[in-house]
């Protein structure tokens, strides 16, 4: 007797979203989660006594408001400590730039850059709205398309057309090129350009001169397409997002088992029959939905021998090189960033003094070395949320790039010197910070792979770029959530629309499963 209709592998946000939607449609769903707690890469973790931090993802950029509504996440405990965060581009001399919505301020900015940024922001927001529509639907196939695909494709075409002549032309011109050229066309202020370029390379194996960075920038600003004007910080850290999702899923009847790693997706004659757990137990189910990254799903859990050779090769060739590290600091007081008011310390702080700096930070990653002068995205969430640190103390969480997964010297030997490099960089902007450190933690892509079970430590599961976008994500043969194994679906960041704590991959997957499994 089959107890479950579906087993979801991994209780990350997409797995939880997918399970909740499936349960809403009356499916009996089990989520098998390997870790102690639910949440995947969206968790809050105490890394030093009394100090907690969002352990991987640390800002809520683009969570889909429709999902929050459908699953009543507020009712289930999701509360934002702060939203529409401003971004501040740090300068060692204190002449920072402050971005909030379409407004940029800072000493010495030219009027042209100020008005230029407003125009740029508004145009990018129009594009983000277009991308947001695309993200919410199943990506259309071009060759073996059904009427649904044709309709989706027509909708995309129509939406692009509706941008109007000038916007459409500009989108087609810049959509596939690099941010370096686009920013240099539009702006003169180096700090402004440097900070904006970070949005195109965050989480990616790309520098501002890499193609696809304009697309990645738009993706980073998907939230603008959903109606926000900056990232948010949930109360209780990112873990509270997935806690709320888990509560919502449970309320729909989903069963979640922690400490339950799936070791094998069982297949028989091209159809999945369930999963094998680490305990040796077999859970039978006609549907298996994997929130694991595509390489883990197909190479490790299914196994290439169960798949066809051409497909296996495409999965093998998916580009997924993690280059992003995390820094967590427990601080015994509020760090002082040169020139920044205490009130702004809770903003999103960016270290990227100019475009060349960002590109140079990327260069060593190509050759298996970390950046001697990294770029950083810093948050001090305890400014907004007193639950994360003891009274008067603070936690700092920073995304640090570039730190290639495949480090020539090996991460064991290099982690300490990398931490020193990060702290030296940080000290240029907050000179007293070293003395405030109570405890610290660095997560390299290697650690991210181990702790969050993401192959290669790439938190988007697969690089986000045109060749792995929409009907090409993650690879031909698995682009519409279903896979060559009947009954096996993808619902994670490796599927369309991609990474970020957004939830759309999970929701789209659930929609597709319900549609397909009804007809077959």
């Amino acid at each position: 007797m089959t107890e479950y209709d579906a087993v979801v592998i991994g209780a990350g946000h997409n797995g939880l979203v997918c399970a909740a939607y499936l349960a809403k449609k009356g499916r009996r769903v089990l989520i098998a989660e390997a870790a102690e707690i639910v949440g995947g890469a969206s968790i809050t973790r105490e890394f030093a006594a009394g100090y907690s931090v969002s352990a991987c993802a640390h800002l809520l950029y683009q969570f889909h408001p429709g999902i929050a509504r459908d699953l009543e996440l507020e009712k289930h405990g999701l509360e934002l400590a702060s939203d529409d965060l401003a971004t501040i581009a740090l300068a060692s001399d204190g002449h920072y730039r402050r971005f909030s919505g379409s407004v940029v301020t800072g000493n010495g900015l030219t009027q042209k850059d100020i008005s230029g940024f407003a125009a740029f922001h508004e145009q990018m927001t129009r594009y983000a709205k277009l991308l947001a529509k695309v993200a919410g639907r199943r990506p259309p196939k071009l060759i073996e398309s059904d009427w649904h695909d044709k309709l989706n494709l027509a909708k995309i075409g129509l939406d692009i057309r509706r941008l109007g002549r000038d916007d459409m032309r500009e989108l087609l011109r810049i959509g596939a090129i690099n941010l370096f050229d686009v920013l240099n066309e539009k702006f003169t202020d180096e700090l402004l350009k440097g900070a904006l370029s970070v949005d195109g390379v965050l989480g990616a194996h790309m520098g501002p001169r890499s193609p696809n960075t304009v697309l990645a920038y738009l993706y980073r600003h998907l939230g603008d397409g959903f109606g926000t004007s900056g990232p948010a910080i949930p109360r209780g850290g990112m873990g509270s997002v997935t806690m709320a999702l888990a509560a919502a899923a449970r309320a729909e009847g989903v069963e979640i088992r922690n400490r339950t790693p799936v070791t094998k997706i069982l297949c028989s004659a091209g159809r999945t029959t369930g999963v094998k757990l680490g305990s040796g137990e077999t859970v039978e189910a006609g549907l298996v939905v994997s929130n694991a990254d595509p390489k883990t799903t197909f190479e490790t859990l299914v196994g290439f021998p169960e798949l066809e050779a051409g497909f296996s090769r495409r999965v093998h060739n998916i580009r997924a090189r993690g280059t992003t590290a995390k820094l967590h600091l427990a601080l015994d007081g509020m760090p002082e960033f040169t020139g920044i008011d205490a009130i702004d310390s809770g903003a999103r702080l960016v270290v990227a003094p100019d475009l060349a700096y960002v590109e140079r930070a990327f260069d060593p990653a190509k050759y298996g070395e970390f950046s001697p002068a990294p770029i950083m995205e810093i948050t001090i969430p305890s400014v907004h949320d007193e639950t994360l640190a003891p009274a008067g103390k603070h936690v700092l969480s920073a995304v640090v790039q570039f730190a290639p997964y495949e480090l020539k010297a090996g991460w064991d030997a290099s982690k300490k010197s990398f931490e020193n490099t990060i702290l030296a960089t940080l000290s240029q902007y907050a000179p007293g910070i070293r003395d405030q450190i109570v405890a610290s933690e660095v997560l390299t892509p290697w650690d991210i792979e181990q702790q969050f079970r993401i192959r290669g430590g790439h938190w988007h599961h697969c690089e986000f770029s045109l060749d792995q976008f929409m009907m090409m994500r993650p690879a031909f043969g698995a682009t519409q959530y279903y896979t060559p194994i009947d009954g096996l679906y993808l619902c994670g960041a490796g599927a369309h629309p991609g990474g970020g704590v957004m939830g759309l991959a999970g929701r789209n997957a659930a929609n597709e499963i319900v549609k397909r499994e009804k007809t077959t």
Partner: protein, 394 residues
């Protein structure tokens, strides 16, 4: 390995003997080797295959050695046929497909033991075999130039091998192979071939190649032995009904237009597809094709008249072009004009009224004839001696 700038075409280990015998000096390039089109007279060479025996230098045929604990599982996933019952010492004819169920090539699979196989094919496949090996503990080695091979075909072939002292060779069944000590080393003999006749293929170390050639020629002197070239082999293989990659179908990785490749069902190899086998490359697509129907049918034709229908259009009764002849030629043994053709479905049933359009030139005058042709189900020529064990003595 051969450096790309070393030589344009290399010589096989039999070259000294082949060259000496090649009175016509007619050569062709085959997978980077220089090989003989015809030695003395194509008709004589052909009749050696059918009436006495002939030897053919097979060395350029592509040979891969597949080894490792997962070799069997790997090959089972690679080919469409169920090979689970293949025993050591057995040869199986197989084909393999891409994910879309389109044929990449056909070939023979030799099983030495559970961990050791050889696969022989017309085309090179290291790229595909390598991609297919992901997730399997196997090693794949191109051993084409490490193994010298001769096809030794014809009614008296067994008698000659007996003459050479290979005891019990007459009891070797078709599609089996065995080994004998020869010249201080090992000589592998398989009862296989591309002629549809009683015949063997001999596999040895390149060092022994000349010795083997000489020994065969010596032992076969009174048995009508004669070297034969590609032209005579071509005649024999049509009669036997054997298709050839690149001639009768395009390997799927070679086509520019995806609709120009063929599934096994579409080239008459449906019998090599075992859909009940739970997992092999192309299975899903082939199941779908089985349900939906194929696009093409491969047929053997007997064409009226005696003009070869090389690459002719095939027409139905309403004069619609419905296919193309892929191979054609006169068959001396069956005294008929043969052809293979690829036809659009649903054409090619046995009682279909079909015509081929043949153009031929005589003394600078082109003539066009529409010849009636007839679909034949079985091989044109399939003598009992090919299958009989013990092999007949002549």
């Amino acid at each position: 390995m051969i450096a790309h700038d070393e030589r344009r075409v290399i010589e096989t280990p039999f070259h000294s003997r082949v060259q000496a015998a090649c009175a016509l000096n007619e050569w062709e390039e085959w997978k980077g080797y220089t090989t003989v089109t015809a030695f003395t007279d194509v008709a004589l060479e052909y009749f050696a295959i059918r009436n006495s025996c002939g030897i053919f230098d097979l060395t350029p045929m592509i040979k891969y050695r597949i080894t490792g604990p997962d070799a069997g599982a790997y090959l089972s996933r690679l080919v469409t046929r169920n090979i689970s019952k293949q025993s050591s010492g057995q040869v199986m004819y197989c084909c393999w497909c891409n994910d879309a169920g389109q044929v990449l090539d056909d070939g023979t699979l030799f099983k030495f033991d559970d961990n050791t196989y050889r696969i022989c094919s017309q085309e090179r496949h290291m790229d595909w075999f390598g991609a297919s090996a992901m997730g399997f503990n196997v090693q794949i080695e191109d051993e084409t130039d490490q193994v010298a091979a001769l096809a030794f075909q014809g009614p008296t072939s067994c008698a000659v091998l007996k003459q050479m002292g290979f005891q019990d060779i007459e009891n070797l069944k078709p599609y089996r192979f065995t080994s004998f000590p020869f010249d201080g080393q090992e000589l592998m003999i398989s009862r296989t071939g591309f002629t549809g006749d009683l015949g063997y293929e001999l596999w040895c170390d390149p060092e022994q190649a000349e010795t083997l050639w000489d020994a065969l020629m010596e032992a076969g002197r009174n048995y009508g032995i004669r070297p034969f070239g590609a032209a005579a082999l071509g005649m024999a293989r049509i009669e036997a009904g054997f298709i050839q990659a690149g001639v009768d179908f395009m390997p799927a990785l070679d086509v520019v237009r995806s609709e120009r490749c063929r599934s096994p069902y579409e080239i008459g190899l449906g019998w090599l597809v075992h859909l009940k086998k739970p997992n092999f490359n192309g299975r899903k697509a082939l199941i779908a094709e089985k349900e939906k129907g194929s696009r093409y049918r491969f047929v053997k034709l007997i064409v009226e008249g005696n003009k070869p229908a090389e690459h002719a259009f095939v027409y139905n009764r309403r004069n619609q072009a419905i296919g193309t002849v892929t191979t054609a030629g006169w068959s001396p043994t069956t005294k008929s004009n043969l052809a293979f053709a690829s036809l659009e479905m649903p054409w090619g049933l046995e009682d279909d009224e079909l015509f081929v359009e043949i153009y031929y030139i005589r003394e600078l005058k082109w003539t066009r004839v529409m010849e009636r042709c007839h679909v034949v189900k079985d091989a044109f020529f399939d003598p009992e001696r090919r299958h009989a064990t013990p092999a007949w003595d002549f």
